[in-house]
Amino acid sequence: MTHRPCFASCPLLLALAVVSTLGACKPKSTPAADRTEIAIGATLPLTGTEARIGGYFKEGYELAFEEANQRGGLAVGGKKLAVKLTLYDDTSTQATAVSLADKLINSDKVDFLLGTYSTALVQAQSTAAEQNKVPYVNGGGAAAEIYKRGYKYVFGALSPVQLLGTTLMTWLDEQQKAGKLPKPSKIALLWENSSHGKEFRQGVAEFAAKSGGSYEIAVDESFQLNGKDFSPLLGKVKAAGTDLMLVDAHLQDYITMHRQYIDAGLCQKIVSYGARGAENDAVKALGRDNVDYVLSGVWWNAQLATTNPLAKKFVDAFKAKYAGKTPEWGQALGYEAARALFLAIEQAGAVDREAVRAKLATLKIDSLLPGGVLEFPAATGGQMQASFVVQQNMPDGTSPIIFPKDVASAAGVAPNPHCKP
């Protein structure tokens, strides 16, 4: 090395570079009277492992913003203010999600934040919102863990995953009581090693423990995301002679695992992949016949439009904007999170973080979510508690809601009639 780096200039150079790139000094805030729009920031995983659902949330956010602005904006303090969304790609990584939230708050000077998707990302990102005292409404962080930290500015519209496990088990329990499933039932419980998977497991395991011996968890194993070979694991499931298989997996792993499930010649009385099951992509990848009677529980489904007027309005608007595409839960939750924030701003009557935070904490609005009401109860640290809707894939290609009863459009089938006893 013959170069002679100018050591001394390095720190100075560095400071100069950063300061000039970032426009270092605090800009003067615009007085409230001149305000013509409300700046809302968000990041979403548009690339990386969570890109698929990140894209769904983007569509939901965009629709909500478009609708609000078509109405002329939000009515705040006797004035109509347009809403502007600044959206960045956090590449499905936590550090990036936090850094970009920091940029949104401190450099782009957004007034409020909407959340990103996936529990891990929301858990990391919400710390930045809390420390900067910016209201943060998210539809993508499901783990109850996020809301147990005593944060005051973080609100979640997505119900905890644990409830997904509980809801599935409640339906199964009904079937068992009706004599359609053996008692006790042996469960194979497989979960991806993420906080999502861990809470799903907790929901199922707690239900089984409280059942007084009606359920026995015979296999309880976690697996690696984006796995290639699940056959040894499925071999365990087979060897344990289980009746039901409850899995929590990402779409990719659902497809891979279920293909290997079929290959292994397995056929159990009930199979569920948690929130996955009814996706078109999965049907395309696995073939219609192979996903028959797969059970899934989701936060929202377009079928709710038949019983819920707000859901119908959303589905119609969505189809009009996106060429007839049917929204899935991701779009609905993104839309709903944005809508909740908008309503809180209007109700607060000022573009003021504290006032909006206070409104969010007591907000109770009609919602397109199951149950029809959206609120962020203080008892759960600001996390919405809606029931999940359980769907089952039917041989005719539909996936009707089978549970809970008030929104169900068909009766569930158990055990899987395809399997030979």
Partner: protein, 332 residues
Amino acid sequence: MTPPPLLPRRMAGAFALGCAVLAVLPALDLSPYAHNQLTLSYVMIAGALAWNWMGGFVGQVSFGHAAMFGVGAFVAGRLMLDGLPAPLCWLAGGAVAGLFTLPVHPTLRLRGPYFSIATIGIGEVSRVVFTYWEGFTGGATGLSLPVTAVQKYQLYWWALALAAMVALASIVIRRSSFGLRLLAIKADVDAAADVGISAALYQDVMFALSGAVIGVSGGIFASYFVFIEPGDMFGFDRSIAFVLMAVIGGVGTSLGPALGAVVFVVLRTQLLASYPELHLGLYGVLVIVIILFQPLGITGLLGSLARALARRMQRRIFGRPRRTPPPAPGEA
């Protein structure tokens, strides 16, 4: 002949001045965003420089430094949750991360790509094992650390102190006879052994030091981000990030990786914000261009710029008649 001083007085003075300016910078009504980006830059500077001790000075390119980074972060995090003062936790994290390199010692026999591949293996094993080890890392749920906004603000000076110390250490190591021996190992292990330099010992020392510093920066990083999760902290992407920072800044130069770290932190956020659909590709192109045209990264680029400028000034001052232009240095 007396050896040149490790740190000439003028250089030391300028360095101290630079650090002092940075230390009082937040007093100048610095925006919180710039404040945070600088803090993060310092943490990454320390990490990148420490990576460079192995990858640049010894020539052992590691693709597994995330292992030590994560160990440092989680040890520090655990201790902070037990209520110990943060600086103590970071040091403990660094110490454990340094010790963590000892069982990895046998891989140091490997050279070139073999070592790189082995470190990928070590990084991945750590990721899987630590994600599974719930009692220590919290598993996939991760750890939320008790860090207040004020403490986070103060991290600026802690991180600056760490970065300054590591930078100083880099200069001193580079200029010392110790650094020369490392260069000898980098150039040819066998020849170095022939003249009595024990490659094993030197590499062990450097690996442990590098791991310890990376561990400390991991601990501060954890405090900065408040929430850490093993899948992310031990991820392959994180190991790659250290390599990228060093490459962009200039592998093997004493302070180049520091520049790389700043570019990595600041540019990445800006790129992501401005060109979300192109940021991966832009990164890729940047790496390709640097590798092909300027192996010493930004440092090399600045060097050739400075030389070109000097020539220009010379011409202007002395008014030399222009003849055939000299070949530009650094052109491959």
